[in-house]
Symmetry: C3
Subunit: 307 residues, 3 copies
Amino acid sequence: MRHLLGLEDLSAADITRLLDSAEVYHGVGVSKPKRDDLKGKLVVTMFFEASTRTKISFGLAVRRLGGDVQDFSSGGSSTSKGETFLDTARNIEAMGIDAVVVRHGSSGAPLALTRSLQPRVSIINAGDGAHEHPTQGLLDIFTIRQKKKTVAGLTVALVGDIAHSRVARSNIHGLTKLGAKVIVCGPPTLVPNEVKQFDVEVAHDLDAILHRCDVVNLLRVQFERQRGAFFPSVGEYAHLYGMNGKRLKASKPDVLILAPGPINRGVEITPDVADGPNSAILEQVENGLAVRMAVLAETICSRAGTR
Amino acid sequence: MRHLLGLEDLSAADITRLLDSAEVYHGVGVSKPKRDDLKGKLVVTMFFEASTRTKISFGLAVRRLGGDVQDFSSGGSSTSKGETFLDTARNIEAMGIDAVVVRHGSSGAPLALTRSLQPRVSIINAGDGAHEHPTQGLLDIFTIRQKKKTVAGLTVALVGDIAHSRVARSNIHGLTKLGAKVIVCGPPTLVPNEVKQFDVEVAHDLDAILHRCDVVNLLRVQFERQRGAFFPSVGEYAHLYGMNGKRLKASKPDVLILAPGPINRGVEITPDVADGPNSAILEQVENGLAVRMAVLAETICSRAGTR
Amino acid sequence: MRHLLGLEDLSAADITRLLDSAEVYHGVGVSKPKRDDLKGKLVVTMFFEASTRTKISFGLAVRRLGGDVQDFSSGGSSTSKGETFLDTARNIEAMGIDAVVVRHGSSGAPLALTRSLQPRVSIINAGDGAHEHPTQGLLDIFTIRQKKKTVAGLTVALVGDIAHSRVARSNIHGLTKLGAKVIVCGPPTLVPNEVKQFDVEVAHDLDAILHRCDVVNLLRVQFERQRGAFFPSVGEYAHLYGMNGKRLKASKPDVLILAPGPINRGVEITPDVADGPNSAILEQVENGLAVRMAVLAETICSRAGTR
């Protein structure tokens, strides 16, 4: 595995291997000593969309494995001088780097990099348009496996904006490959027709499916993207699709609540649920480090000797 | 001492211990070798207000003690996606960190962090609203002690915008605890009534007090905060409260001139005074590193074994 | 050599020594191990104009020589609070640093720093107004020497906006000192009268000189600077001065095509030429690292023992 573009491209065995590896990396640099898997390696983070937590998570993962990280932030950069995305990337590459962690508003931008840069540079997708966000998918699945001991046979609901969510797509691919049943649930305007091509159940009434769910993953309402009116109002969204104390009572007692964050308290989730015992929101963040270390080590170090 | 929220909370002995410690750290990484007090520790700087020098000062202090630093800049971050301040902090914490150095426009934001984050994470206030800026207070007092050999018994004037100045408050608390006499001096609009609760003398005429002062600390006129008209004009402010060559001549010959900076030349201080022999403005910057190293080491390392 | 302000100040021997040194540093941290020339040294990058690639290039150069780098970005900084450029620099200096890499919109800003900061701090010009960009000039010349084995006796055309180009000026000084013949070629509005003081040939018709050129260096059309109408249209500029397949055929078969980038594809250069065998655009980026390592090592380490 030289690159990580999406979970759609991986086999169940690939995903399981990464999850097993992430268990070994869990706690490195915190409860376990730093490692030197990436000693002498330089990873560039190229984020063309706002993100702090994902960029910091990748950056810490690199440093806890002994590598160097260089952030390329597009603000005040060459791209504002008319340079193309690929020229910028080729220029960064020419400085001698080992991997690019890229977030871009256009689906397929990471794939384009694998075709334009030299094969010795690993490309890791940190979110591309509405396509995939594979490390988020992996950390969600890692958290499910950690809490439920298995993934196969579980029923997992993805709730909210399925249409615009790269997180949803990565979850769908990863979970179904590992044998989970996936229900996508949201207002008809936010559940696209294309989703029917995947092996998922489509629902529009959250209350009707809750009792069957082992895991509920609450996708973020992306206010900053939705200028159009995909749902009548925030209040109505919360009323129909928000997880709250009453809905939690109607769920299985050990239902696992996930949210990729940043969360909108009172919209997709109420504070009592977000901070309650069924929520694993902060474990997700912690697990994100472990999963990203596993991905970085596998993609970069599997090429040992190629350079 | 697990956190540093303000000098108001510290005893005279605490402050003296930090100043003594700062003397040991003075010059580390420049004229003395780097140290490894913070080896394996990760400090996050979270600045929700513009600041470069304070952030860089803390960052260099961490690195010169062998620690890692990760900046969390609020621009382009999760907070723009609607996440609350405390959720952002909890997320950063979940990545496995040892301390947060926080600057925030709201008084009490660092205190809120100590209540929301796990006890093993040290919180260091780098300026919160008009409340306190304790490391600035410490470096001012360190510089006074360095130049005057003592603090007790000195008369120190704080000149300018007392009402909006967290630097003034930290100085008032620290200096009075160490036995200095503090005079606050500024236009009536900028000297609040609440200041009378402290053990300070209030003055409005700088020329009337100058001959009694051992130290004059010229607070910055914060043009970027004062849309309202707290004084008639910049020229009038400089005329009444600016330190210039004439006023320097009317002062004690060995008067010590401080300014927390960034300075507005020609407003609170004229260039001849800023660059003259009585000024310790650049020593303040150098001492800031020493004081911050002392604070970081004490807050983070005093918990050795808690993790 | 304590500072690097411009190639105008250097002798041919100085330039040759830096180029020879850059050959030793070429590939350090990529195909050769990291070095520790700058161990314990702190370099600050102060960029007051947008730049990503140059800043990253300097930053990586410092780290590959074992030094520490601290970026001072002017956005959200003290300068927005009314502090002068020199006060900001003096404050950064007081934190204990070894070198400043500075980019500034005003010609002469780096020179001003050498007069204001202590002599033990090296100043390296990363581009000042329309004055010089010496490391860009050095990397262009390094690339020419690498490809052509020599510089003396070559004919080098600098094409485009000579008037506003600090890259042009650094190339003119460096190339003529090393014995190359320089032709400056561009529309009369972009070729200033002052250029006649240098030992260069002035041309306005690219097609008339192409057959004589061993090297063609295509300066970037700086759309972000040229609000005024220095040429009728982008299309006309490309028609008259852009390098394309047809012009390449009219050139010497082994003509070397350079462009300092970021390039505007279809304006100063067409994609087939930019990505073709005569182009050394990406080697320029790689060589930039080597040249910057040589400059950093020479300016900072030549003062060993002064501190």
